[in-house]
């Protein structure tokens, strides 16, 4: 395996720590707006006119009264809600922008994985907090769903790491110099993007916020508290789309156009594919998904990892 860790530096070292952090957070928020606009466009059938709707909804929620329920677990409820946007934006720290990440460690992929895993706690707390049955049901649905998506998602991240010989995001992008990883690991790519929908409890994986339980974990949320949860989930979807573009679609590689534009285009393509595909499906019940995940997806992603490991050992990615 060649030394890929050509030190490209970090955004922090190039732009200064604070400006870089500001840019990363801003990009995260913009990606979130992009995702919700695309989602709204498909759900309401409005098309591009829906572009402004996420901002409008956001403003509306800022203006709305907050509410709490009778005898809630207020601390845990609010902590859970605030944690969703925080971990979503923290995951942006290892997403390459303009070919660099804000923070570069030897375990970037693990960091991304860890931020997403924190949602287990956050969403469950959201469900537990308001002392309401729909909400509680939603929280536990998320845990059941987690049992389904988490392992295939982790296996697909590991597959990427095997091919790149590194868990550093920028190394993974660099390793795709000749061939995008999506070519040799299509299963991992699809599972990663699908896993994003699942951990962001969105679209066909929205059982924790399902209409059949009056919105589940969101059922007692109004105003700011609702905004934080919905925004956090959109940012996470956006961040994952950008990460998917970096890990599987060569990141900022591409002819003629500048790198960041390529990365943006690929991210938009992933978002479009996710929203278009996700909204074509009805809700997938967690109890059915768990069985499918363990019986089909876990073996499939492991097979994918095996194929990539054999390729890596035979020097295919060198």
């Amino acid at each position: 395996m060649p030394e890929l860790a050509a030190d490209v530096g970090t955004l922090a070292s190039t732009w200064g720590v604070l400006p870089a952090a500001l840019v990363v957070a801003a990009v995260g928020v913009l990606l979130g707006v992009l995702v919700s606009a695309a989602d709204r466009a498909v759900v309401t059938g409005q098309g591009v006119r829906a572009g402004v709707e996420p901002l409008r909804s956001g403003m509306q929620l800022l203006l709305e009264q907050r509410r709490r329920t009778l005898a809630p677990d207020r601390l845990l409820w609010r902590v859970g809600g605030a944690a969703v946007p925080v971990v979503a934006l923290l995951s942006m720290a290892v997403v390459p922008l303009a070919g660099r990440t804000l923070w570069s460690t030897s375990a970037d992929l693990v960091w991304f994985n860890a931020m997403e895993a924190l949602l287990w706690a956050a969403v469950w707390l959201m469900g537990w907090g308001p002392n309401a049955v729909h909400s509680l049901t939603g929280g536990y649905r998320f845990l059941a769903q987690g049992l389904a998506y988490e392992l295939p998602l982790m296996f697909s991240l590991i597959t990427v790491g095997v091919a790149a010989g590194s868990l550093r995001s920028t190394d993974v992008v660099a390793a795709q110099d000749g061939l995008w990883f999506v070519v040799t690991m299509p299963v991992a790519f699809v599972v990663f993007v699908g896993g994003a929908a699942a951990f962001a409890f969105w679209g066909p994986f929205a059982a924790p916020t399902g209409a059949d339980i009056a919105g589940g974990v969101t059922s007692e949320l109004s105003g700011l508290d609702r905004l934080l949860l919905l925004a956090g989930r959109a940012v996470f979807l956006g961040a994952t789309a950008a990460m998917a573009a970096a890990l599987f679609l060569g990141g900022d590689a591409g002819p003629w156009l500048p790198g960041p534009v390529w990365h943006l285009l690929k991210t938009v393509a992933v978002v479009a594919g996710l929203v278009w595909g996700g909204r074509r499906l009805p809700l997938l019940r967690p109890d059915r998904v768990v069985e499918l995940a363990w019986v089909v997806l876990v073996p499939l992603t492991l097979l994918q990892a095996l194929v990539v490991a054999v390729l890596a050992v035979s020097g295919f990615y060198a």
Partner: protein, 499 residues
């Protein structure tokens, strides 16, 4: 301030709407939904998600109470209007935006925790009346029963008894009973739907959380003179009366309670001088906030698990307005289901008029909302609206859309995989669709308007209730959404199925 107002007007230009339809107003609901879809306004999933509450028709009785309670749960700015015809609908929706944008500090929902508790406490009478009638029992008869007859009764060995047989039994009479026997699975379900099962092999010390809530009219005077010492442990009088008698361990209750008025609505705080020292750390008013905790009952493996009493309906998006499912939940599994219509929603006037194809599309649309398929649901609604248009070109397009939706839903392998095998109705007639998927496919056939499939008849509530038992919440929602529940002339039709 003008800037602020225009900001608000912009922000509230697409409010989220909760539409509640009184029975017999389906065609009006179609018109409202068509206008909302045209404007791309979102449908609210819960009161917290609501900006505008639209009430179609005139709510009466318990439905009216339910809508009042719902309204108290809506955060401000908020707006509500009633609607009995579609005249000026568009203007009224515009006015809703204005009202939201112009709302002031004074309009804020000022409900405090005390208000919420008062609301909870005031529920007693209304809810009791409802529960008793839905269970077909007169709860009033419980008050003033002679308790003497029960005194000294050996309650041991009442294993698995259903309280339906205990009609007229006064719970107050349990004082002084020797409860230390096998009280296994004693099911109080019939009384208010409270399940007292799971008191297995416990003596009265273990009866903590014994819930007598909701027994409004219960006369506690009868306890005076009973020797309750050591036996009345943890007897919870909480519930709707808001007082918790839990943890009276070792108290000589007879001495303390003599002459105390324990009537409904009595505030335990008023028991000045009452010896509270034996209350074993139970707070009489604070953390429980006037509500009891979940009870326990045995699951199918004989494990003692928490059981939660939960109501679905009467007003729930995607749910037939007025239908009430009183369920006992272990986790999200319904172990006991009672179905009834609330007053004001129980007559045949609830039958939907309009062309069969449009009705089927409406049914599909509601099912698809519950099944978490908002894009197809919107298309089904739009096709439904188009079919009732006077313009032949619009109708032709709507027909195409209807066929598209019906085909999309009918042939969706994902939906089939997701709902397969659920909701078999007990009377398995080969002529009649049996599970959710079969029923939905039948609705699809009618919705496409290309075949002459007969409309599935309404399903009687007892049949539906027994199909719900043992299913989980998500399944129950899909099952209910897949049928048309039969409206009865009286609420006696309401049924409970034993656990």
């Amino acid at each position: 301030m003008d800037l602020r107002r225009s900001l608000r007007r912009w922000a509230y230009a697409r409010p989220r709407v909760l539409v509640t339809d009184m029975p017999g107003h389906d065609v009006l609901r179609w018109q409202v939904e068509a206008e909302l879809d045209r404007r791309s306004w979102a449908y609210a999933t819960s009161p917290a998600d609501t900006d505008v509450l639209i009430v179609l028709g005139e709510p009466t009785g318990e439905l009216s109470d339910a809508i009042d309670l719902l309204w108290s749960q809506v955060p401000t700015p908020r707006h509500t209007f009633g609607c009995s015809d579609a005249n000026f609908l568009s203007r009224r929706l515009d006015q809703a935006i204005e009202a939201l944008a112009n709302s002031t500090t004074a309009d804020a929902n000022r409900q405090t925790e005390d208000d919420a508790r008062a609301r909870l406490a005031s529920a007693g009478l209304a809810d009791d009346a409802d529960a008793s009638s839905s269970a077909g029992q007169d709860m009033g008869g419980h008050a003033g029963d002679d308790m003497g007859g029960h005194a000294g009764d050996d309650m041991g060995g009442h294993a698995g008894q259903d309280m339906d047989e205990h009609a007229g039994h006064d719970m107050g009479g349990h004082a002084g009973h020797d409860m230390s026997g096998e009280h296994t699975g004693h099911d109080m379900g019939g009384h208010m739907g409270h399940d007292m099962g799971g008191h297995a092999g416990q003596d009265m010390d273990g009866h903590a959380g014994h819930d007598m809530g909701g027994h409004t009219g219960h006369d506690m005077d009868g306890h005076a003179g009973d020797d309750m010492s050591g036996e009345h442990t943890g007897h919870d009088m909480g519930g709707r009366m808001g007082h918790d008698m839990g943890g009276h361990t070792g108290d000589d209750m007879s001495g303390e309670h003599t002459g105390h008025d324990m009537g409904p609505g009595h505030d335990m705080g008023g028991h000045a001088g009452h010896d509270m020292s034996g209350h074993m750390g139970h707070d009489m008013s604070g953390p429980v906030a006037g509500l009891p905790m979940a009870q326990t009952a045995q699951d199918r493996d004989g494990l003692d698990l928490d059981v939660l009493s939960v109501a679905l309906g009467p007003v729930l998006p995607g749910w037939p307005t007025g239908l009430v499912l009183r369920a006992q939940l272990q986790g999200d599994v319904i172990i006991d289901a009672q179905l009834s219509w609330t007053s004001g929603a129980d007559n045949e006037a609830g039958d939907i008029p309009g062309p069969a194809q449009a009705r089927a599309l409406d049914h599909l649309a509601r099912f698809l909302v519950v099944a978490g398929w908002p894009t197809q649901a919107r298309q089904a609604r739009q096709a439904r609206s188009g079919l009732t248009s006077s313009d032949p070109a619009v109708r032709a397009r709507a027909q195409e859309a209807a066929v598209r939706v019906a085909r999309g839903v009918r042939h969706s392998r994902t939906l089939a995989w997701s709902v397969a095998g659920m909701g078999h109705l007990t009377d398995r007639d080969p002529e009649r669709p049996d599970d959710v998927l079969a029923r939905i496919r039948r609705w699809c056939d009618i919705a496409a308007g290309t075949s002459d499939v007969a409309e599935p008849g309404p399903v009687a509530l007892p049949t539906l209730a027994s199909a719900l038992e043992g299913s989980e919440l998500a399944t129950a929602r899909l099952v209910v959404a897949s049928v048309e529940p039969k409206r009865a002339l009286t609420r006696v039709e309401g049924v409970r199925t034993g656990a």
